[in-house]
Assembly symmetry: C2
Homo-oligomer: 158 residues x 2
């Protein structure tokens, strides 16, 4: 990936688009979030959601998948250009995760990431942290998901 | 579940215990977090983690599963006692999620939840919000995972 010093603050990148099906919503919920409005159409219709919708952790996991795939794509591009590749990860955690709207069956969520800030790590010499806003937006242009992620990133300076 | 007014602030409940296997760590990572240190023992040994470890989103999803199962257990107990049952959920999101230590193959994580604060909702009359600290602790007594969750909870007062 990019070195700490090469990260463009404020640059927004679309990282992927996913349409949620009833089958995968139920499969994720059955294993990790077995609430009736994530597993059963009739129960969901009677709930405050009004229809079957994805577990928020499912929305989040799909976002993580796109973030990883995006990083792999950038690494491949840097390698193809003969450029050096910095190591990224792990993440110490994140803040302000928001599930703003339900993700219903058939909704197509477009995920994006935008670097907000970088700083040098106090605890790990030669490393920094990048803070990014990661979002999901549905086909109506409504923001459904957002969190501020943090990831350790290799620095050019030691 | 409990009504807003019946929630005991500061009471900590163990909600479940899970031992992470290599197979399930790889299965989750393959689908949602395909980074080499979550999928391949040899690559993980060369990484900063030093050994295969679970995706943080996997640690989080298992916690959600125990939270849901715990709520179902409480609902069953209230019903068995002939007590009224309040509706809980959805969650508007959470804050301060921290992955404090890696979760390695064979680690047994004990999850717990503790209510920190309740407040009446301004936007939804008859409802409140409960904020809880949800944690995971490994078999060495080390905190590996923590976040402050928020959930809408029915109030006795309208």
């Amino acid at each position: 990936m990019y070195y700490l010093e090469d990260i463009h603050i404020g640059e927004r990148s679309e990282i992927g688009r996913h349409t949620f099906t009833a089958d995968e919503i139920k499969a994720f919920a059955t294993q990790y979030d077995p609430q009736s409005f994530h597993m059963d159409e009739a129960a969901a219709a009677r709930s405050h959601f009004g229809a079957l919708c994805a577990s928020g952790w499912h929305t989040a996991a799909v976002c993580m998948r796109f973030l990883v795939d995006y990083r792999k794509k950038v690494v491949a591009e840097l390698r193809a250009q003969g450029k050096p590749v910095a190591t990224w990860g792990p993440s110490p955690g994140f803040r302000d995760l928001k599930w703003l709207k339900p993700v219903y069956v058939g909704d197509t969520i477009t995920y994006a990431t935008e670097a907000l800030e970088t700083r040098r790590s106090q605890s790990r010499p030669g490393w920094g942290l990048v803070f990014s806003r990661n979002t999901g937006t549905n086909q109506h242009g409504e923001l459904v998901y957002s969190f501020i992620g943090a990831v350790f990133v290799e620095s050019r300076r030691t």
